[in-house]
Symmetry: C2
Subunit: 408 residues, 2 copies
């Protein structure tokens, strides 16, 4: 029997319950990686559970209750009792981070908080580890999915702020009380945390100037389009004249900016440093399962020293005949019946045409089409057949098409 | 005096010399984080240095010599001697990874290789740590900056493959012998490594099917534009029917795909998993300084157990009056002289207009303009002055504009 590793859970709302489920589901995989069997210990909710009892047997505390008190007290007591803590609580860290990090250092335990910023986008780990000694000039982020969804909808549909907000609430991208999201306060807390890590200087939420998006009108977005701009709620933390500016406000971006194409309820962060030019990390903003996944990544990291590449635990078969959609380019004689015979050859292999463009070029013509997903072996067989048709003037040419769309 | 931590360096080409420089430059910062003073020990080049002597005193070996032998032999010997190893060598890992990872496990040392894939994009760390226990369905990547630059140039300018390749060579984005880049072999090695980590199954370079971009024509890109598609060299590793497919080929993407907007010599990787939906990491492909920065991140991680948030070492002043460009929206009476008086007010504060759109609306008009970067306090003073002009029909509205462009 492997040793167990007990996780005490503070908070059992959307994130807490998703975490409990994910921990159980992934337990065998976690055991394979860490050599320890994770086990959910006590759970504290508003109505049940006792913090002292949970702490007594836990190896690590997960704090997803939110709010400043009593979360601050519990996290401090856990750290002082020598327990690792994983938290998703941005307000707590943006107000009391220095006190908590000092307690973690003093008691030589880990305080991890990937889930506090950027949903599943691993920006905390990248700042703390990959870029630990980099000289960072600027961090720019879309760190609130609710406002990014609203602005994307306003741009896409011409809706007003109120209409887009109602739509966001209907789809679960905005809370019943959306104040902290739409007025920029949520993004400000996240930028305080990112600035602390990127610039190695204490940053309190009160030092972050912020504005929200409540006053943005459809007009603004229309003019922006005329001017070649897209509108986002942007958090910025940057060095200026030896000092540091941390702020959140709506801003227009030119199309070439790495954050300009981030649409819908997504988060993204761009980090600029002379040594790396810049990197951008993007993904869905926080939902319950996404946040739970970020919390779990932190729990596993606390369980083991990282960067061991474990022995593989399986041997998946390597598949060679996959399905793809294709772009197919044919140079043919321009005469009746050509398209029908090409279509026959495709049809005989089960290849179905999605769109086709035909261009006459004097005696010859060019057929360019996109076909739907099909086993590549069948597509190749059809192309082989087509290449032998007497009206072909050149070898058929083809390129795969990735059909998936992402985002909204 | 703090203890020193000696780094032995194998290879002193572009990456090796950039790493040596960066290690020296960032040494004080690294000492603050780790408590150890890093020191460059012996350096092995083709013409000088002795591996055994370097190994004898090194705490960690950095391997950036490239090629399979003797790199494989040196890395194995270092691991077996109980030294951590950081390598940027994708060919080595894609062919002999299992042997090397097993040696690292057996001798309980770290083998890190962030720089082997994705340049400065921290995809290895994210797969190994953030997503350690995630069930991943698919990894899709643009993992070769040379080919992405060539395809972007062909799309942008209508150039042929040969012309765009020559341009890439002129700008230093392609080597004198670009074979391994343009035929897909380089991307295939990187995808083998990513697939190994993402799917916990051994993957050898020989199991990766690959095609290059040598046969892409300007025609293909023109038709693609007609069809609403963009062309990239895409690496894919995905579960199919309980097995695994790993492949590299040119593919068209719809505009909504997270990789569709990655242009120029950039790399990007999208990771899909039910728990996280998907995340995308992007940044410049490997150049000497970028790769050196990724190597240094690995070295620092090997020096310390991570996830401690060190005490801040400085207190940067928080700056409040920053410079911004602005979009300014004015509702005014439609009468002569209005624009001149607005321009006067702006000019008096040193605010300079970049572009302006004027629309008549019966008795009133709308002036929408973008102004160049200026201290926000001066812009606000100008807006305050404008708001008191007698022809104003509503409060002036303004939104910041981010002026930077990224990528090519």
């Amino acid at each position: 029997m492997p040793e167990t590793f007990e996780v005490g859970l503070l908070g059992h709302g959307t994130v807490g319950s998703a975490f409990a489920e994910l921990l159980e589901e992934r337990a065998p995989q976690i055991e394979a990686i860490t050599g320890l069997r994770p086990r959910l210990g006590g759970v504290l909710t508003r109505s049940r559970g006792d913090f002292d009892e949970i702490l007594a047997t836990a190896d690590l505390i997960v704090e997803v209750m939110g709010g400043v008190e009593p979360a601050r007290e519990y996290v401090l007591r856990a750290l002082r009792a020598g327990r690792h803590v994983v938290t998703a609580n941005k307000q707590l860290l943006a107000r009391h981070g220095e006190e908590l990090w000092a307690a973690a250092r003093e008691h030589q335990v880990q305080l991890r908080f990937e889930a506090a910023v950027g949903g599943v986008v691993p920006v905390i780990r990248v700042l703390q580890e990959s870029l630990a000694a980099a000289h960072i000039d600027r961090v720019t982020g879309i760190v609130n999915g609710t406002t990014n969804f609203i602005l994307s909808e306003m741009a896409r549909t011409g809706q007003t702020f109120q209409e887009a907000l109602a739509e966001a609430q209907r789809l679960g991208y905005a809370e019943a009380d959306p104040t902290e999201d739409v007025n920029g306060a949520d993004a400000a807390a996240k930028m305080a945390i990112l600035a602390r890590l990127a610039f190695d200087t204490p940053v309190h939420l009160d030092q972050v100037a912020y504005e929200g998006i409540e006053h943005i009108t459809p007009d603004d977005l229309e003019y922006a389009r005329d001017l070649g701009l897209g509108l986002k709620l942007i958090g910025t933390a940057e060095r200026i004249d030896g000092g540091l500016s941390v702020r959140v406000h709506p801003a227009f971006l030119y199309a070439g900016h790495p954050l300009a194409s981030v649409n819908g309820p997504f988060n993204a962060v761009t980090i600029e440093s002379p040594a790396i030019t810049e990197i951008t990390l993007s993904g869905p903003g926080a939902g319950g399962p996404q946040t739970a996944s970020a919390v779990l990544g932190d729990v596993i990291s606390a369980m083991i020293p990282p960067a061991s590449t474990p022995e593989t635990s399986q041997r998946l078969e390597i598949v060679t005949d996959v399905e793809s959609a294709f772009y197919l380019h044919l140079e043919v004689d321009d005469r009746p019946g050509v398209l029908a015979r090409v279509a026959d050859a495709l049809g005989s292999q089960g290849v179905s045409v999605k769109s086709v463009v035909q261009k006459g070029l004097g005696e010859q013509a060019r057929l360019v089409m996109v076909v739907h997903r099909v086993a590549e072996s069948r597509f190749f067989a059809a192309v082989d057949e087509i290449s032998r048709l007497d009206f072909m003037r050149a070898r058929p040419r083809f390129i795969r098409v990735v059909e998936e769309e992402f985002g909204v």
